[in-house]
């Protein structure tokens, strides 16, 4: 009797089943895959300041955006324009003279790009240090730069050399 009654409710109210399906689909984020938390990294405004040929160093700046739901890490980079590229950080010297800045390799050797956020690489913060320039950093020059991300793998982007 009871089971007959339950069956009757579902039979007479098909919208009930439909509503259930809609609610279930809403619980799963669109476009993410059920249990697949992953970073989604895009790289923007990649550039380097033009440098005199006599200067042995160069720098690359950019914005790295992570629109995914999992953090990502930049582990290293390479480019035909540089012998080595190091992940560096400019920081204000504590207790030093006004405007005293220091530079050091990024602690831990990686740059974290948390989920749903962006990190700007710039002269006064995180940046990529190009040691031993192999190509001329003259205004208008362009060369490829490959970024190694922990999860997303390699991403190659063009660097534009311009005036700061």
């Amino acid at each position: 009797m009871f089971s007959e009654h339950k069956e009757g409710v579902l039979m007479h109210r098909p919208w009930f089943v439909g509503l259930g399906l809609v609610l279930l689909s809403m619980a799963v984020p669109y476009d993410s895959g059920l249990a697949l938390a992953e970073p989604r990294v895009t790289v923007h405004e990649v550039w380097g300041p033009s440098m005199p040929p006599v200067a042995p160093m160069g720098a690359f700046y950019m914005i790295i955006r992570n629109t995914g739901n999992e953090g990502e890490r930049l582990r290293g980079t390479h480019s035909p324009a540089c012998t080595i590229i190091e992940l560096h950080e400019s920081y204000e010297k504590p207790g030093g003279a006004m405007g005293a800045m220091g530079m050091r390799p990024v602690p831990g050797g990686v740059i974290d790009i948390p989920a749903q956020s962006q990190v700007e690489l710039k002269a006064s913060g995180f940046h990529l240090m190009c040691l031993g320039k192999r190509l001329a950093f003259e205004k208008g020059a362009q060369f490829p730069l490959t970024l190694h991300f922990e999860t997303s793998g390699e991403v190659t982007v063009p660097v534009l050399i311009r005036e700061p």
Binding site: S50, A55, P56, G99, A100, M103, S124, M129
Partner: protein
């Protein structure tokens, strides 16, 4: 009836004309009457900049007082500097391009905080790349070590992870010395080119007869 209406329009014309002349005067005079608000940090009180003598990138010995009559921008940097120095020098060059003919009233001097590696030749190639008027200064290690503290400048060698080289951590401010040799203000790193131009133009205006 007709006579009064003529009078009426005449007084209107006078009133309107006066207003026009007054507003023109205010508009023209405003930049001079309104005190300029600095983007940089003013030295309080302004003091004469300490004199020094170093070797210019041309090889000749020059002193700060040689540049009396010009607005001097004094900067401490080095040719191995990857980010801060090139950005600062390029920004100053942009200001000078904006100044046009007035650019010859401004002299940028960059004192090397890395005199061991920055020979006059290297400095010449480096600074003139940004602007032909820029002058690089260097000397012995002890010469530079004696000049930096006169301006409250800090610098320190920092071993690099790359065994072949080292960095020099250093103060990144740009010091502004007026044509009379008085230290007037400092411009911190990160100041926008336009703000820098406004500060320096205001100082140039002050120095020349209006």
């Amino acid at each position: 009836m007709r006579y009064t209406s003529v009078l009426h329009s005449k007084s209107w014309a006078i009133g309107f004309g006066t207003l026009l002349v007054l507003s023109l005067l205010v508009w023209r005079g405003l930049p001079h009457w309104r005190p300029h608000v600095l983007h940089g940090f003013a030295m309080q009180p302004p003091k004469p900049a300490a004199d020094f003598t170093l070797t210019a990138h041309t090889g000749e010995r020059v002193s700060l007082h040689d540049f009396r009559g010009k607005l001097v921008l004094l900067y401490f940097g080095y040719t191995f500097c990857p980010g801060i120095c090139p950005t600062t020098l390029a920004n100053v060059a942009q200001v000078l391009h904006q100044f046009g003919a007035r650019a010859n009233q401004v002299q940028l001097l960059m004192i090397s905080v890395d005199p061991e590696r920055d020979t006059p030749d290297k400095l010449a190639a480096y600074v003139t790349h940004f602007h032909p008027s820029f002058i690089g200064l260097t000397g012995s290690v002890t010469d530079v070590a004696a000049v930096a503290p006169l301006f409250g400048i800090y610098y320190e060698k920092q071993e690099s992870t790359n065994a072949t080289s080292y960095w020099v951590d250093h103060s990144t401010t740009l010091m502004v010395i007026d044509p009379q040799g008085i230290m007037r203000f400092i411009i911190p790193f990160g100041t926008a080119v336009q703000d820098m131009a406004i500060d320096l133009a205001s100082l140039l205006r002050e120095g020349s007869p209006k």
